[in-house]
Symmetry: D2
Amino acid sequence: MMIVMKEGATEDQIAHVVERVEEIGCTAHISKGEILTLIGAIGAPDKVAELGLEGAPGVDHLTPISKPYKLASRQVKEDRDSVLEIGGRKVGGTNFALMAGPCTVENRDQMLASADAVAEAGATMLRGGAYKPRTSPYSFQGLGREGLRLLAESKERTGLPIVTELLDVKDLDDVLEVADVIQIGARNMQNYSLLAEVGKSGRPTLLKRGLSATVEELLMASEYILKEGNENVMLCERGIRTYETAYRFTLDLLAVPALKELTHLPVIVDPSHAPGRRDWVEAMSLAAVAAGADGIIIEVHNEPEKAICDAAQQVPTSEFQALTSKIEAVADIVGKTVSRA
Amino acid sequence: MMIVMKEGATEDQIAHVVERVEEIGCTAHISKGEILTLIGAIGAPDKVAELGLEGAPGVDHLTPISKPYKLASRQVKEDRDSVLEIGGRKVGGTNFALMAGPCTVENRDQMLASADAVAEAGATMLRGGAYKPRTSPYSFQGLGREGLRLLAESKERTGLPIVTELLDVKDLDDVLEVADVIQIGARNMQNYSLLAEVGKSGRPTLLKRGLSATVEELLMASEYILKEGNENVMLCERGIRTYETAYRFTLDLLAVPALKELTHLPVIVDPSHAPGRRDWVEAMSLAAVAAGADGIIIEVHNEPEKAICDAAQQVPTSEFQALTSKIEAVADIVGKTVSRA
Amino acid sequence: MMIVMKEGATEDQIAHVVERVEEIGCTAHISKGEILTLIGAIGAPDKVAELGLEGAPGVDHLTPISKPYKLASRQVKEDRDSVLEIGGRKVGGTNFALMAGPCTVENRDQMLASADAVAEAGATMLRGGAYKPRTSPYSFQGLGREGLRLLAESKERTGLPIVTELLDVKDLDDVLEVADVIQIGARNMQNYSLLAEVGKSGRPTLLKRGLSATVEELLMASEYILKEGNENVMLCERGIRTYETAYRFTLDLLAVPALKELTHLPVIVDPSHAPGRRDWVEAMSLAAVAAGADGIIIEVHNEPEKAICDAAQQVPTSEFQALTSKIEAVADIVGKTVSRA
Amino acid sequence: MMIVMKEGATEDQIAHVVERVEEIGCTAHISKGEILTLIGAIGAPDKVAELGLEGAPGVDHLTPISKPYKLASRQVKEDRDSVLEIGGRKVGGTNFALMAGPCTVENRDQMLASADAVAEAGATMLRGGAYKPRTSPYSFQGLGREGLRLLAESKERTGLPIVTELLDVKDLDDVLEVADVIQIGARNMQNYSLLAEVGKSGRPTLLKRGLSATVEELLMASEYILKEGNENVMLCERGIRTYETAYRFTLDLLAVPALKELTHLPVIVDPSHAPGRRDWVEAMSLAAVAAGADGIIIEVHNEPEKAICDAAQQVPTSEFQALTSKIEAVADIVGKTVSRA
């Protein structure tokens, strides 16, 4: 941590800061410039941050120097990409994960028809939500265990690994019975007790970026899972909240190269939620691949017009095969291949 | 819900929308203008939203007409403010709640000294955190049950009602033993299972606005608590995330009059977290009162420099009495009185 | 414009709104639902907006129904893309414009070397700044007329059309002597007198989106140019301001399909300014092409390390040929071809 | 400027950075920690920023240490507030400027009636717009010179100094004939040629913060005026753009204490534009005073319902006297007095 003193900070003020830094067992390294004095506090940046020196006399501001995350950082893996192995499919490195399926498991016919189409088009995994986080308590909240059962049937039928969301610790055991990948939604990115439990389970996890989370906060949230010994974490950009109202969220594709530089974990993009409209999903899917994502998780439905939830943004299964071909073509240009069993 | 058709939408496209609206039991009311056709879908706006008509042929966009929240809306109370009664103190209407105390319960000396000062200055309630949500898994996470015990002792000593945060359903029973008000933090505003459990407990709840939650989403989150039969909800503006980096968050005081118009629930402001520096807290405290808030929840500490957590933003108890006097003076101008037993 | 009345609005309040709408020559169309009354104000939405009915008794809110822009709207061209012709190159439709060159014209050697490399790689146009908008009055503000002269020499040498920024009406005549495309920067998107003058000049114009402009405001700004009879307008997404600090701006690629649906004008993307770092520019360039942009405007420099301005984000000309090949490959997948003379 | 090297940066990479820093005449100060190496570049931070070292091998990121503004900084005035003298009224220090008047000069009756009411209530200055920046080219753009003439008449009648907006350099001479304070609107905050001309005129200037400008960018914009020798600058917070749609802009009152700490210039708040509705303007006016602003600029109108522009947000002159009394009462609590001749 670097402490920048104000112009004209007195010797006493400097000495006071040094004393407080040393009290917590850090080393203070003073650097006097013509105008400003800097104090480098070496060791335990968390503790220095908690000293609250922003308010202290003579202090202008503090600047963190080192990164606050550890296990997620690229240095930990000596600058190599992590490659996860999920139900026989690789994710990361040159292996592109194409995850697809309906937003919500609605009924047997819908789920199986969608699953079949997803499998036929050659996707890597099948997604579907049994538990749905809803802004309104009056909206449909998902089929729950019945939804999980239909996912299990779809898995058996297609052989595809299953991605499904977990909302509440109390449902963890049920979800673990069917999920190859546990999805943590944007609203729960900082639900730390949920993250810790998922970490303990060891199951591969897709962690979605919160609606207004920074790239660094996303990495810090992944750290809650990683520190429990679960290394199978994928990060997911799904659109952030901005002032723009022409779409639901602003898909932040620049987060892809930024994350790839900072972390060894695979970076996935959800191209469906930000547009909120299916006719813009293809553009965002291809853009995500071109931006260097390690996978996308896309909503497809056998009859989107009849979908219970997020109907507008689900791509019809009838168009999914053609989209897959374009995705493969763009992936090829950036050196990736859609991962299959 | 109003469905706005595109210029040049065909009769078939219009008929198709009408059909889908009627399929879910709503009435479609067609209004043809010179250029555009509007279709008003009357009844069950949630269901209409879920039809996904944004993607349908000929549809330009959808506009919600009625408010999605019900129990929180001002109309429910015939345009009157709710006045809560908490440990013998009123909150709402002309009763201003001055809640103060340390960010975190750290140890017995610190907690009791801070509690005494808060009581002496004439605050309405005492706050203190036993469970702390932290961005980093490596930071101090609070004293837990030992912290709750110290809050109980402080309550017995001062007679002040206690406000403390709940992070996890598994700690609910412990928290209920001491908390007069359960605080739900910004990161948990959309942790729906937590909201439902707090709703069932019936205990007065302070619900903080999420970092990027709209005013409407805050009201929808309160609806999760209200619908369980718990009417004792206070809403809390605590700063939103914007592009500005000169402070931690942008305190959105315009949310105060906006919320007061939309809901009967009391509106509280947290003036400490957004600045993140104690020398700007007084300005924001007074501004919150002047903006018409029904209370503030402010961090004070007997020795801020030694605080474990958020040290920079805690006001010294030695200055709290003087601040309280100014708060009372401004409250008087806007027709409110600090609430006491 | 749709005026939504509050629940329980009285007959008098409704009548008052109708009266005011009719006073300005519009027709009021009343629609009473079970709970709410809607008043459609038909004709002159601008005038209705200016009535200030948001504050009127009984009014809940106003919702615009029709689009405020006219000449920019896709309907004007019967849903066809405009194809501009600039110095013998087509832009729009299936014609992809690859615009490249240094951020700033620095000196003859740099400009000519960069221009040669850009021409050799097969770009569509050459960019370079003679007038630079700078946050600090103490920074280099561009070579001015000498810069324009070097652009003219580069044009003669390579045959490439020139894109260069205009900051001030007083420099218009000088810029018109060399520019095939006048660039209006993000900070000037709402400099209405500048827009009007550029409109009158008739010269093709690249209008950059303001740092916090909505898609609709960008279209409204283009309307200031179009209404002067200048139809040769290209819109340019260049990154918007959000809370994320890991990069300079958040490149909003979802604006590409959104704009393509709303307007007939070509949509260009600047992949250089948002990252602010050259190692993320390739990812954003390819993503822009995949998202359906009609062109990109990218900063390249013969010796980026020695660049005077925005050195970090300029791609070395030595890597530009390889990037161009990838751009062409992605363009092919989405049905576009790099436009050349 | 502090250059933070990556973990594992090599000696060669460090030497290369040092060399480039020294090439531009700065001194490099190397500080090796256990994990990271820091290079302090002393002298000419602008030039160091322009080296583009963000992209250089081994560099993690750059952190500015000193402030980029000079004349606006509080240090320049040895930590004292500037007190401006405008038409016999003081602004700054303990002198609170109450500026009021209609959004737009519409006609003689409206302007004179509003001016009389503003004068009678005891305001410090009279505001009114003759040139209006409008999002739509089809909206009313102001009365222009006729508007200036009516302002001159109002000034003669009431004795109040006039605040009016300048949009275009070509109108500067006309505006200088009547304006005691030239207002630069939010959209023009970075219109650098306009700022420079206003700077040269020497006339007191009210500089509004751009819709998405940071506090630091606002100070940098003021620097363009100050460096021309014009020290009579007031800064104005008027609401920033955020994701919240319940109001037009988010009034950022935390900018008030933040600016007061950074600069000696007076800080004014516009409480009218952010709400966009008159019933929330009183709350924001009082909050601005309580937050420590040196003045507010508020829109009042003799018949708001008939206003041509921004009708919804103008406070009726009939209520302005009562509001003024409350403003004075709050000002008194924070140690300020409304400034009068």
